[in-house]
Symmetry: C2
Subunit: 332 residues, 2 copies
């Protein structure tokens, strides 16, 4: 099975590549080749038992080598995230929409040359919805995006679903929850604090909480996201019909729940979280739906989410030391 | 008020232009200039009391003259319709999606130069939905398009709503029902028969009906569509929030109802309709939702639909003689 990861240098792309290079398999299939494409250099995977090609480029001008004729699965994770797409409209459109069109074009060339439509696993987002703190969205909820990132992701979903119906490719469109705990540094995304209130105290650092303890978010762990991506890569799509989208079974967690889980893993750590209300951030994040009833995902075999305390423990096991090293902090 | 019609040579574009040039007003405002843009030559409007500019070009490469700096209202009616967008993927994407992006770019240049965001009245379609004969869709129904035309229109809606939120333009997105009675000739659209079973008998010609008498469609008259377009051009959009879409109050009519209305206007005319089942056509049109509960449109002031018999009479009054002339048939 030949695989391409678009966005292979990113947070989830690296985790998917690590899984593939470590296990050498995707579902029941042996991996025979991997292309990692990104706008920056992808990591080396020296332990892989198959050829790994690392390409740097602009996804809107996707080169043919990124998606060779024999490609079986494409993880399309390349994206300009919410705050950046809001700040730079042209860049968001270029990567999030025109990048997806370039991928459709690449798959069309494969099928026009007699190849099988490649499976495309696309990371869409709950940012395609609005609804707010009181919402509990069912699988048939409308997407009314309140930001350019969400609009571009929703439009990309439409193009990929139509390309699937036409037989150019075979898409599964995953609307990921907010992923916590993100490694690395705080960033300018409005959602940055949702990871920071767990990550920073575990690093021994203070951090600001811009919303109240009752604020709820729809979240999922990196481990669960990778598991869902891998399932989407090999699942039977016949049963999906023309609707290729899946709202995933994340968990609805309040800030109070998150801090409780933090303290369960590192007693007293939540004392490093300072309540510093920030109405500008609150106004944005309070438009995001805080809960979904993700019934279709369960029918389609997507795994249920682990408890919040396991999310905190997994961050400690998987990413805490790398984050310390990246940020030049002493080892814990 | 300066107005542009994109698709000004088309069926609805000509009717909007005729209204503007006849009355010289749009709502309470005097019309001071009109640009009619299309990929073919637009009609002459010699009776207009204001300058009319007729431009021919490709909407994906929209020239600056099509949307001058002082433009107040743009009717964006340019489209590659369903059967053609299905047959020619690249053309559908180019006109229906990239043409809309070009319009967003033109409006951005206007606002970047200090101009007011132009009102954009966009004709989306019920083809953005699926659901079938038993569906009665509420205003919050999801768009799961079953054809490329619908996917492109739904994606264009997302881009225009986002551009409105960002202040590049001020959009109203009208999801038009199937418009009957279309003048001219039968065409290869799967929906062609819905107009043909009224138009052809009124011309004294036989026509084939590919579905059963119980088949229902969500329809609206050209008069009603023009009235809705004009209302959308001057209505207050503040009350719409970020959701700029409107499902319009068409009527759900069965073939039996349509033939009854035909016979009420021209007794016995329905004898010219031959039942010739065509499963290929039935399979397509039976995926289209046959009814909507268009509550938001009423709140927003869109006029209710007239009875079906008035639709048949209006075709006789407005379009029958022109259709005869166009098709070289003797005057009735």
């Amino acid at each position: 099975m030949r695989i391409t990861i678009l966005g292979g240098a990113g947070f989830l792309g690296r985790k998917v590549a690590r899984h593939l290079t470590t296990h050498g398999r995707l579902g029941d299939n042996e991996v025979t080749g991997l292309v990692s494409f990104d706008f920056v250099e992808s990591p080396h995977w020296p332990d892989a038992d198959f050829p790994v090609s690392r390409l740097v480029g602009d996804i809107a001008e996707l080169p043919a080598e990124a998606v060779p004729q024999s490609t079986d699965v494409i993880f399309h994770l390349a994206a300009v995230v919410s705050a950046q797409a809001e700040a730079d409209y042209d860049l968001g459109m270029r990567v999030n929409l025109h990048g997806t069109e370039a991928l459709v074009g690449a798959c069309r060339r494969i099928t026009a040359a007699g190849g099988k439509p490649p499976r495309v696993v696309f990371t869409s987002s709950i940012a395609t919805f609005s609804g707010g703190q009181d919402a509990k969205l069912l699988d048939d909820a409308r997407q009314v995006p309140a930001n350019s990132y969400g609009a571009e992701k929703a439009a990309a979903e439409l193009l990929l679903a139509d390309a699937s119906r036409r037989g150019f490719l075979d898409a599964v469109l995953l609307r990921l929850p907010t992923i916590i705990v993100r490694p690395g540094r705080p960033n300018r995304a409005a959602s940055s604090f949702i990871s920071a209130i767990i990550r920073e105290p575990l690093l021994g650092l203070e951090t600001d909480l811009p919303v109240g303890d009752a604020f709820a978010a729809w979240v999922a762990s990196p481990r669960r996201a990778v598991d869902w991506l891998l399932h989407a890569a090999t699942m039977d799509t016949e049963q999906m019909g023309i609707d290729r989208s899946v709202n995933l079974p994340g968990i609805s967690a309040t800030v109070a729940h998150m801090l409780q889980a933090l303290d369960a893993v590192r007693p007293g750590a939540s004392r490093l979280v300072r309540h510093v209300p920030d109405p500008a951030i609150a106004d944005i994040v309070e438009t995001w739906p805080a809960a979904f009833e993700a019934m279709r995902a369960r029918t389609l075999g997507f795994s249920p989410h682990e408890p919040l305390v396991d999310v905190v423990r997994a961050f400690v096991d998987d990413d805490l030391e790398d984050t310390r090293a990246e940020r030049g902090l002493p080892r814990g």
